[in-house]
Symmetry: C2
Subunit: 254 residues, 2 copies
Amino acid sequence: MPGAHPSASLVAMSERETRTAGASAPSAEALQKLAGRHQAGYRSVGTMAYDILRDAILDGTLAPGQKLRQETLAETIGVSRLPVRSALIQLEADGLVEFHARRGAVVKALSAEQAREVYDIRVLLEIDALRHSMDEMTPERIVRLRELGRTADAEEEGADFVDARTQFYAELYGAAARPVHWEMIEQLRLKVGRYVLGWRLVGGGDHGHSHEELVAAVEAGDADAAAEVLRSHLTGVRDAVLAMLSAEGGAAAR
Amino acid sequence: MPGAHPSASLVAMSERETRTAGASAPSAEALQKLAGRHQAGYRSVGTMAYDILRDAILDGTLAPGQKLRQETLAETIGVSRLPVRSALIQLEADGLVEFHARRGAVVKALSAEQAREVYDIRVLLEIDALRHSMDEMTPERIVRLRELGRTADAEEEGADFVDARTQFYAELYGAAARPVHWEMIEQLRLKVGRYVLGWRLVGGGDHGHSHEELVAAVEAGDADAAAEVLRSHLTGVRDAVLAMLSAEGGAAAR
DNA sequence: ATCCGCAATCTTGGATCCAATTTGCGTGCC
DNA sequence: GGCACGCAAATTGGATCCAAGATTGCGGAT
């Protein structure tokens, strides 16, 4: 349901607003708020800009299709254009933004087909990661897992919600110590993070016990059951995301 | 386009060889040769620098562990340090280089475990991509596939060898039109590209007919057979790469 | 009145310049 | 003689400045 977001007015700036006052800000204030959260001491300003912009994209402050003007972003964050450019390059590599020749960068949108792809691949990769991890599972890890699962379920807010779940899955797959595998999963989760967030805000939380269910299966050592829980969870989220995407697909097309 | 670049001081890196040993010197000329191949009109210098450095890493001109000094690279390529930095950031996202705090970038090495991971994941992803693609396979695509397979088998040289194979797999998996899936596969292939190249140069080419074998299975519509050919091919290459990595693992460590 | 072309302005991309941090080396002290 | 502290040089990271290209708005011509 639109309108519920605090900073949801970002989609409205489509084309007419670009020239007049659009130079500085549809989302300036929300972005500044994010920037404030990251004002802590970073070793390099570029990584700070990256984190700010990534979070802004993930929580919808910068919506898909949004034009990203380097100078505006730089002024809003409070740095020069150079670290912003670095951040944009990284975000392009992450698949979150798209560079159009010499015409600037825009927040990349994910089509329904691509979202389906992401979840199909995640099913493959994560079930495999889970099986590998279960071979090396330890009781201590189970304890931490259960803890993190509770935290993740309790978390409601946007960015923290994604973070909590990331920690849970990092712990879940971490036993196998497969950095490349985890990196791939992280990339895929990053691509759909925004849409999951939207779904979480809009839809309900019927997935609340799936974490515990998963931990229980892992604890019991039943790989097939755990895989099935994971698979059904992922496909469930996938379907919800797809429904949301097709629902508002025509609006945010470009 | 008629830009007579000031390709001046290119040999500047031999200024001081105090403790080089195996770290920083020997690649200036080879890198320049690569730079020459890419001197064609690029829209942006940054992408050119990226291509040059990526190829340099892939064909071993810049070996794993190599220290990448921005100014040296910039002078060798003939541009400023800024596009080099952009390229390095992209390469970091690709997992080919690694930034060490404020101490510069080095060419990232792939451990044997990580290489194994890459191939394990590739088996998962590529077999799935293959099955999806076979659902949409067309006779015309088979024809092009057979053509590309022959080209790939004929190709011997380094960079072109990888390129030819890339085209073959792009055509093979392209029928399914799954951009995210293909992007993931490309990333993984990029990570091991250097080692495959080394293996190709060192070892033999007993895999010559696997392309044709694969195409035949695809043409026959036998998904299981095609998957098995692909799987055995990938595990074969994997084992060769692993053997090579463990063989010279102690030497090129540092 | 509409369409094509030109020019001005805005925005990206690149280069040079400056500061901050790290590293290597020298000296002094233990 | 060895280790530690400090200084100096080099290299990375950031900011400001400059050029190139694209888009848009305006004007003229058909």
